[in-house]
Assembly symmetry: C2
Homo-oligomer: 206 residues x 2
Amino acid sequence: MQPPISSIMASHEIELLAQSLARLPGLGPRSARRAVLHLLKRRETALIPLLRALESVTENLATCDSCGNVDTTNPCGICDDPRRDVRMLCVVEDVSDLWALERSRLFPGKFHVLGGRLSALEGIRPEDLNIPRLFSRIADGGIDEIVLAMNATLEGQTTAHYIAERLESTPIRITQLAHGLPVGGELDYLDDGTLAQALRARRPMS
Amino acid sequence: MQPPISSIMASHEIELLAQSLARLPGLGPRSARRAVLHLLKRRETALIPLLRALESVTENLATCDSCGNVDTTNPCGICDDPRRDVRMLCVVEDVSDLWALERSRLFPGKFHVLGGRLSALEGIRPEDLNIPRLFSRIADGGIDEIVLAMNATLEGQTTAHYIAERLESTPIRITQLAHGLPVGGELDYLDDGTLAQALRARRPMS
């Protein structure tokens, strides 16, 4: 059992730093202490660079007025990128989903970040999300396909269906990410929901 | 396989922050990205507090002229604490060792941080460490006992023996941390070195 971090006999400033770091996902009190020691011992090569990086992000942090992405420019780097295919729009729940898709480098179009998902339980309605802006963006024209890349959760799928229904009358192609077996997935370990989806969406062998 | 962090399509500033965080012990590229997202989404409650904590530590960071501890004051909080028993001095290799001992709250005296260990292999001599300052501190008088709390490594023990030998002629009591079975240690799983130490230092049942 480790005592709480406040018991280390360091100065108030150092404890505050340890506590701030300990609140980051992936770091607990113990690893935060190790991180603080790492920083204290490397003032020029670790502490100052991290401080400068944080300063620069804090000063410039902005939510993109066009797509809802969080970046240090507005419009964000993706909206501002002329190499992007403006005819394809990928709708995601959160910035973390956008980053996940960007890491795959597979989607050539632009994005739209909803900032959440519809939820009757939590009382989250379309106007609480970045959904009105999505429809006005679509109304501006030029979009051929909308990929609904919601999470495969009940609320994610509810959100996707809501958007798809609202766009039924448009000629835009509405698609969603395929659901089924993940790569390397073994049937024996998969939940019934995934199996059902995979079976329902079965395709002829090519 | 995750692509390198530089492939995320975020701004240069955000990537720099992710890279700075990824260099901290305990965080890799993936958890650094999660930490960055956490910070970006919580500008007021996480990003700014971390920035302020880093600023304050960076501005005030100092190595204690007396004991070699790293703190935001000089002399450090421990050297400056009037409740500490000045007659007992605990010598440690590193600030992390001082923190580990402080967490146990068991040592009532003051500390001296060597900033490393003697090493013939790496050419680290006494004058490369905070050892001359240790002897001048001892020469100032008032110390009854010196606890050599070096790591139980070859170089740690070499360092302890060097210091102990240099102090042979003084009336100061020189002690070292006990070596033996760790709490919960099972003989079957312990290395021969620890077993040998534990056997050699065996004590009568009380």
